[in-house]
């Protein structure tokens, strides 16, 4: 069988037993965290899980086209989920980190705006290249009409392709996904940063000003690590490519929520153990 026909047939089916195991695992980790560090640690872990779930959910919105999109045979941005999510997430994280002193709400919104802005610029330049460089119009292959503008798609779609370019709904999806991802990454960073700022001076027996570089760098690298783990898990959920929120694959998001929550909880728990034990 050729490599093209050998795409994984993961399908949209849910596996209730595995979902149950996932939820139980999540509760066990939360209980362990409560046992180790009932106050600040548990709060930070909840924040990390919320951030991870936001990243996992947000990645579903991003129009990921992969290699077929690079050849103009499928809609979306012509690269993989890991690259797009890392770009949007890190742009958001940098934005959020600048505003870290303004409080959780403003910093999270700033992070979201950073990620959304990054995706908006990416989507726009991608469409410039598609329309003016490759000479193809934007058309979705998954829906007859654009759910937002109501434009019909079929007339613009070339035969033998699944659509091409970035239709309006994919553009909106990309910006929404970037916003959620950037906000999620910033929440993880802020929660870990505030935990490290308060606990590291005692663990390392140093002044608060001295541990600041460690707190910032450790929280940052943990946020990046968690971001990539959640983005790749979502990539596995959508088996690589998705058109945006109108794609049938979007309906698989409940699986990704459980998966992201379990993965973030486990990784976040280890990040908290650094200062709690």
């Amino acid at each position: 069988m050729s490599a093209v026909a050998a795409k994984p047939q993961a399908g949209g089916a849910m596996n209730p037993t595995a979902m149950g195991v996932g939820v139980v695992l999540l509760l066990i980790i939360l209980a362990l965290c409560w046992y180790v560090s009932p106050g600040a640690g548990l709060m930070a872990l909840v924040g990390v899980i919320v951030g991870g779930v936001l990243i996992g959910f947000g990645t579903h919105f991003v129009p990921v086209g992969g290699a077929p999109a690079a050849m103009g045979q499928a809609p979306g941005i012509a690269t993989g989920v890991a690259m797009l999510a890392a770009g949007a997430g890190l742009a958001g994280l940098f934005g959020g980190a600048w505003a870290a002193e303004q409080g959780l709400l403003i910093a999270t919104l700033t992070g979201g705006v950073g990620g959304g802005l990054m995706m908006a610029i990416t989507c726009m330049m991608v469409n410039f290249v598609y329309v003016f460089g490759m000479g193809i119009p934007s058309a979705s292959g998954k829906v007859a009409k654009d759910p937002i503008t109501g434009d019909t798609q079929a007339e613009f779609k070339s035969q033998g392709t699944e659509g091409h370019g970035l239709p309006f709904v994919s553009f909106v999806g990309g910006v929404t996904g970037g916003f959620l991802g950037g906000a999620g990454g910033t929440i993880i960073y802020l929660e870990l940063l505030s935990l490290y700022e308060t606990t590291l001076p005692a663990t390392m027996k140093m002044l608060p000003a001295q541990v600041m570089p460690i707190a910032v760098a450790a929280a940052g690298i943990f946020a990046v690590g968690l971001f990539l783990v959640n983005a790749v898990l979502t990539a596995y959920n959508i088996t690589g490519t998705i058109e945006g929120p109108h794609d049938p694959k979007f309906k698989r998001w409940p699986r990704a929520i459980v998966a992201s929550a379990v993965a973030s909880a486990l990784c976040g728990f280890l990040a908290i153990l650094i200062v709690a034990m």
Binding site: M204, L228, T241
Partner: protein
Amino acid sequence: MTVKVEVIEGGIPHQKIMIAGLVSTLVCLYLTYLNVLTNTEMFAFFGGLAVVTALIWGSHTIKVLCSYGIGTGVPSAGMIAFGSGVIAMLYATKFGMAAPIVATILAAIIGFVLGYVSNNILNMKIPAMVQALTEMAVVGALTLMGFAALMTGGFTFEGLTTSEVSMLGISISTTQNSFIGGALIAVAFLLGAIAIQHPFNATLGPGWKQDRMLMLTAECGFLSMIAAAIMSFAFISMGAAIISLIVAIVGWAYTYNQYICLSKRDAAAWLDAKPIPEVEGH
């Protein structure tokens, strides 16, 4: 139902590469502990060798996983390896001398859970998934630890977070000029993540040959080691850093040469073509 696209024909079986990779990486990491025993920093370059051996193992694991056509691209495998590895590695550094062993165990636990999550909750149903993600998290953690040992000469939390800086003749302890505090861990993260995913991404296809891919991995590993060795000038003594740099450059030159030879061997036909000669009379 998943179809395996390529089968490993001939070459070294994956089990053997895995065991050899794990053992040699751990041995190389512990050889950097000679720094503490002999009170020098001359053995930091063993950290770089640990990076290379771990990457060779990791790139073969990526080959095993991505042969199934997971649909997300090869780089995503490298990203999840380091994303999960960095978390295990940072916590493991708290355990002092046991750090490499603890990192292996913790990363294996994280990788196993991630494998279970993707195979069962996300319904990937790929036979090699759980084992591959477990191995990959271990590779990510050990590679980062190798970079840490190469740059700072040790792998303990204290060594990675503080360093002595001499200012106007007075030696003061600072956290800013350190592997974690200076965020060099982020550079190490991407140096490793690119080196682990590139070899299979570059050599995959019908003409894939195991020895050529592994040689390219070693080349990428030594190339990363050159960059890391240059950064190590900031933390370890000049002599030790120069040793690391020389080892890295020699290793890179050898593996690059070998890789070109293997590429020429596997090319259908290669011709040392000269520029088109200018023919008179046109």
